[in-house]
Symmetry: C2
Subunit: 132 residues, 2 copies
């Protein structure tokens, strides 16, 4: 049906092409259409990357109940203030948290609740997997 013998042969002449070509070209074009552009894929990956560290996951969760200052966060997580500040700055670059100053203190809060939804989905997934 969707097979195109001659075309498959022509393209298979190039490198990195296996014979599967002739079996389902339709599947390949569907996939091709679903794949995001390099730029979009990079943005998505950057967002995930910002979350992808145990410490940052814990920070985001800690902030789920409301804003906290740096020293409170460091105390809750048992980290040095410096390490906490560094991780917060990474989260801030990705707009996952925001800060406000009040005298000597700096209070951080979630930039967007959607992050919590992502974390919740993932947590649920993990417990499902464990149950199975």
């Amino acid at each position: 049906m969707t097979r195109r013998g001659t075309s498959a042969k022509t393209r298979a002449a190039q490198a990195d092409r296996c014979g599967v070509f002739s079996t389902d070209e339709k599947r390949v074009s569907l996939a091709r259409a679903a794949v995001p552009s390099d730029a979009l894929a990079a943005s998505i990956a950057a967002a995930f990357k910002a979350i992808a560290h145990p410490t940052r996951v814990r920070i985001l969760r800690a902030l789920s109940e409301g804003e906290l200052c740096v020293c409170e966060i460091s105390e809750v997580l048992g980290l040095s203030v410096s390490a906490t500040s560094h991780q917060l700055s990474l989260l801030k670059v990705q707009r996952l948290v925001q800060s406000r100053s009040d005298g000597k203190l700096v209070y951080y809060s979630l930039g967007d609740r959607f992050v919590l939804a992502l974390l919740d989905d993932c947590t649920r997934h993990l417990s499902d997997e464990e149950a199975a």
Copy 2:
């Protein structure tokens, strides 16, 4: 109310403790309760980490339309077969994809649709942010 003057003083004697302590201990205990264990945070971070790469995002999207063999994936994404295989193995360790063999071919498919939900949420978030 929930303040405990003496306790605050005692604990503030230790390092890494600032005076904010006495201002809102309730906030801190709420946060403490919301923070996941090291083990859970590590699992969540590992899942995000597996997704956190442009190539892997693209692979997951490509598989959203159905299973594909390695050579098809490599062709769709314009990667070498080896690089594709490497990334697939990373995804497989986290159970984000699964594989089945059929003769010489190995077909990969999504291990769990929930990943697509995560990617969609993130994509939506990015376009909202852009609009704002």
